[in-house]
């Protein structure tokens, strides 16, 4: 008879490993055969062990804990969102005010240039008119008055644009809040 196999080899054989000569040896060897029988019996018995039933309250406990943690996380996320909204509102207001200010400067500059150009043009035109048609000084006063009113209207319009910017900023801030 061949030499006995180790317990590791016999156990591995039961795991499905191919160990040459083992089945033939175990048929004739009392020690190896006995080990295989006992181990197989143990494996069968272990396979028959039923799992314990979990406590009935396990699913409800899990779901309760899950809802609580989810709620807590949502609340924390809400606080974070509120802080973010406040920052966004501040950024929105500041950038709108700056934009409005810059816009008003541009418009006023443009208005000044236009008015100056117009004055120069009308000055020339007036000179031409005065030269060729002999208009009185009263006519010039009237023209300057009209130009002054237009300039004031443009400046007021710019201020209105700035106010409109602030209103838009406020609306945007309310939307974020």
């Amino acid at each position: 008879m061949t030499k006995c196999f180790s317990e590791e080899e016999l156990d591995a054989y039961l795991d499905g490993e191919d160990i040459p000569g083992l089945p033939e040896h175990a048929r004739d060897c009392g020690r190896c055969g006995d080990f295989l029988r006992r181990t197989m019996r143990l494996r069968l018995m272990l396979g028959e062990v039923e799992m314990d039933s979990p406590p009935v309250e396990l699913p409800s406990r899990v779901m309760l804990a899950l809802r609580e943690t989810t709620l807590a996380r949502a609340s924390q996320a809400g606080i974070a969102l509120g802080a973010r909204a406040r920052v966004l509102r501040a950024v929105w207001l500041t950038s709108s005010a700056v934009a409005g200010y810059l816009l008003s400067i541009v418009i006023l500059e443009k208005a000044n240039a236009t008015i100056s150009g117009f004055i120069v043009y009308t000055g020339y035109a007036g000179a031409v008119v005065r030269l060729f048609k002999g208009l009185s000084a009263g006519g010039w006063t009237a023209l300057w008055s009209i130009l002054g009113i237009s300039r004031a209207a443009l400046i007021n319009g710019s201020i209105l644009l700035v106010l409109l910017g602030i209103c838009l900023a406020a609306t945007g801030a309310r939307r974020y809040a």
Binding site: E7, T39, L42, M51, P55, L58, P59, R61, V62
Partner: protein
């Protein structure tokens, strides 16, 4: 509703859908926790924590792969963390514990139910590292590869642990007249 649909609903924010997964897998998760911790109270806590961790980790779950081994991997990790917290000074998973109950008499173990109880007691007498592989391989029926995946041990280590666990069980059962 199948696992895939329930997982999809959970990922879209429906936390109530998770109850279906808890109901379906509470038994294997609880039994793994029970085998790891050695008592029902701790097993309940570990099982609950495992399900909560699994829910939080659902976005990392590879869709289309089997859910049960993944869930049990989360449960095994949770149980390992629990054991580490509970016994920081212990020698580790290989430490062997005494069986919780006294050996039953020969007439008791004649019946199958009693034999099962006797076996469970013997398993509980092993160290947690052995108990877990026995639970997963012999009782829950996972393959060696799956046990390796769930526990994070390589297949050779799983085989060695199973071999040693069975040897210890044989000795324990022989002492009770059940071998």
């Amino acid at each position: 509703m199948n696992d895939e649909a329930l997982i999809g609903r959970c990922l879209s924010g429906d936390i109530e859908a998770f109850e279906g997964l808890v109901a379906a897998y509470q038994k294997p998760v609880y039994n793994l926790a029970l085998r790891a911790t050695g008592n029902a109270e701790d097993a309940m806590d570990v099982a609950q924590e495992a399900f909560l961790k699994a829910f939080r980790s659902l976005p990392t779950f590879r869709r289309g792969s089997p859910f049960k081994p993944w869930l049990l991997t989360v449960a095994a990790n949770t149980a390992t963390d629990f054991l580490r917290r509970r016994r920081p000074a212990a020698t580790g998973e290989f430490e062997e514990m005494d069986p919780p109950d006294a050996s039953p008499g020969p007439e008791e173990i004649a019946e199958k139910g009693e034999r099962s109880r006797c076996l469970k007691d013997a398993i509980m007498g092993l160290a947690p590292g052995y108990r877990i592989v026995v639970e997963l391989f012999h009782i829950q029926g996972f393959s060696l590869g799956e046990v390796s995946e769930i526990t994070g041990l390589n297949v050779t280590t799983v085989k060695n642990r199973l071999f040693r666990a069975r040897r210890m069980l044989r000795e324990k059962l022989a002492g009770r007249g059940l071998s």
